[in-house]
């Protein structure tokens, strides 16, 4: 009997180890898909930016700058993916402290763009181009890592909720004061999804309803342009040349693209009518060039990145790594869907970029960093139940 039990144990070990190897090999495939998609989408982004800016005074400026950021981003992706996940966990507290200090500092010493104090001007010129750094973008990956390691570890769900809420509020306040409401919205939705997937009694979220209403009222009273944007979203035909302008232009631009697009380099409407066609309106401007067919392929490519992220979250054994991958995937998917929803006028206008495809160095680096750390987390262990990294 003992011999039979021992033999059964050996067989079980073999199967688990074989399953583990199979899973690792499958995870490796998903990681390769991530690398490939990020490279392809990055290059497509450069083409899309040219298409959106060809009638500006210097379209090559935007493309060259974006290409340089893509190179820097791919380098960031590779470097961050080869650093072992345990080192991120060891250093996460000082890193998050530095980023929080930067979020406070940017309110005082930041560079203002479109009424938002969210960028630092870096005193370095990249091939004669000025560089700007947006801490709230780049901090996303580290914020999620911080949540994954330190929060939601209590057995008591209410304690989890309280610690989570304190961190959420502290983190959100400086971003709200910039005011970078688009990024804040991404953080908020991502945190909501993340919390709901991590705790048993996710209904504690309802305790946020009153403070949320107070926060929203504060935002509306202090930033009247938000009310204007909301009215423009709800009734675009009432004031088509002012508050309804952006909403109408999104629709006209997408309609012009039709099913097959107006062809690359022929996105006349996006160039002449659509505000910020290369960044906040990237989805609509690419739609004009590629049409529904082209955007369907882009959506599938972005969805494949999300799918790979969910797969890695499901099949990573390490607890903290799994939480991080899930949080990172949620934040990426939320931002992508929000940008698309804004461009398709399903959601009011906010300043959110389309990851990888929109113009912007901080956005590129932030996305690549997110995926780089995600890959590092996925590779950290391929055996079951190893929580030593905690």
């Amino acid at each position: 009997m003992n011999t039979v039990t021992q033999q059964l144990d050996k067989i079980a070990q073999l199967v688990t180890s074989h399953e583990g190897k199979l899973q690792f090999s499958s995870k490796k495939n998903h990681i390769i898909v991530i690398y490939a998609m990020l490279l392809i989408l990055g290059l497509c982004g450069c083409l899309a930016i040219y298409s959106a800016t060809f009638s500006s005074s210097s379209p090559k400026f935007f493309v060259i700058k974006q290409f340089l950021w893509l190179v820097a981003g791919l380098l960031t992706l590779w470097c961050s993916s080869i650093i072992k996940f345990k080192y991120y966990l060891k250093l996460i507290l000082p890193i998050i402290g530095i980023f929080y200090a930067l979020l406070i500092l940017v309110l005082i010493r930041g560079h203002q763009v479109n009424g938002m104090n969210g960028w630092f001007e870096i005193p370095v010129k990249l091939f004669s181009f000025k560089c700007y750094f947006q801490p709230s973008e780049v901090a996303k990956a580290f914020f999620v890592l911080f949540l994954a390691k330190y929060l939601l570890n209590f057995k008591n769900d209410f304690k989890n909720f309280c610690s989570f809420s304190i961190v959420a509020v502290l983190w959100s306040v400086p971003i709200m004061l910039q005011p970078d409401l688009g990024t804040l919205l991404i953080y908020a939705i991502a945190m909501l999804f993340y919390f709901v997937t991590q705790v048993k009694r996710w209904q504690y979220i309802l305790l946020w309803s009153l403070p949320l209403i107070v926060a929203l009222m504060w935002i509306f009273f202090n930033h009247s342009y938000i009310t204007e944007r909301l009215l423009g979203f709800l009734y675009p035909e009432a004031d088509p040349l002012n508050s309804g302008w952006h909403i109408n232009q999104f629709r006209y631009t997408i309609a012009r693209g039709g099913l097959t697009g107006a062809s690359w380099g022929n996105a006349i409407w996006a160039n002449n009518f659509l505000p910020l066609a290369h960044s906040d309106s990237a989805y609509a401007s690419i739609s004009e060039a590629c049409g529904f067919t082209g955007m369907f392929i882009v959506c599938l490519s972005l969805a494949s990145l999300s799918y790979c992220g969910f797969y890695l979250a499901e099949y990573t054994q390490n607890l903290v790594a799994r939480r991080f991958i899930l949080g990172a995937t949620i934040i990426f998917s939320t931002q992508t869907l929000l940008h698309m929803a804004v461009n398709l006028t399903i959601f009011p206008t906010t300043g959110i970029t389309l990851p990888i495809l929109s113009y912007g160095g901080s956005s590129m680096i932030a996305t690549m960093l997110l995926f780089g750390i995600m890959i590092s987390a996925a590779k950290c262990e391929n055996t079951a139940n190893n929580n030593n990294l905690k």
Partner: protein, 235 residues
């Protein structure tokens, strides 16, 4: 909790997939189902169509002395729609600005409401040396003003020749011959109007790459069989 994670990830995937489907459906709706309606609305805002009358042909005598020709002038006008009491001060301020920055010849007249009773009050007949583009940039910010082109048919300064050549009148921007040689050769001198279509950007400027015209007959110059001396002898 971690045992339920697989299930919750599954539900999360479903939620994101549903949101993606909503996104794709909305895109399809704008790109295909409602495309025509949206294009019409957009085109109404962005496209300008119109008629351009080609410059009327010249009349020469047999010795190729020019007898009649057309010149284009530009006038700075105050649009009739804005000739209201509440706009008077603004109108005078802008005129002052234009006078100081570009066209000092604009008369130092302070407009009052009684001056603005006609259609498109002409403030100033713009001289050819004035930088039209710069003037246009200034008045572009003020809806009260416009630069209106004005075409004038000129004939040599001789009463008998003028009688032979005949008279013209301007109807909706087109010069039409109503007597004399102008009437006799009206079709040849006028050609056919050109229909144009051009896209405007947000600042209402022409996007030159989109400018297109229909085909038309070009106006021709008329060369008379006789010279001035013989024309005067016969008349």
């Amino acid at each position: 909790m971690e045992n339920n994670l697989g299930k919750r990830i599954f539900y999360l995937k479903i939620i994101f997939l549903l949101l993606l489907l909503i996104v794709l459906y909305t895109h399809f709706r704008y790109a295909f189902l409602e495309r025509n309606k949206l294009l019409q609305l957009g085109n109404k805002l962005a496209w300008r169509e119109g008629i351009l009358y080609q410059p009327r042909g010249k009349i020469y005598d047999s010795d190729m002395n020019i007898l009649a020709w057309t010149e284009r002038y530009y006038d700075l006008v105050i649009k009739q729609d804005f000739c209201e009491k509440q706009n008077i001060d603004k109108i005078n301020k802008v005129l002052n600005l234009i006078r100081k920055s570009l066209v000092p010849e604009i008369p130092h007249k302070k407009f009052i409401i009684e001056d603005l009773q006609e259609d498109n009050v002409v403030v100033y007949g713009i001289k050819p040396e004035i930088d039209l583009k710069k003037l246009n940039e200034i008045i572009d910010n003020f809806e009260f003003f416009a630069i209106k082109p004005r075409i004038v048919r000129l004939i040599v300064d001789h009463k008998k020749i003028q009688k032979i050549i005949g008279k013209t009148k301007i109807v909706e921007g087109k010069i039409i011959g109503i007597s004399g040689l102008e009437l006799k050769h009206d079709k040849k001198l006028s050609g056919t109007p050109v229909h144009y279509k051009v896209m405007l950007n947000r600042k209402r400027e022409w996007i030159t790459e989109t400018f297109s015209t229909s085909s038309s007959e070009k106006p021709e110059n008329v060369v008379l069989e006789k010279n001035i001396a013989k024309l005067l002898e016969e008349n």
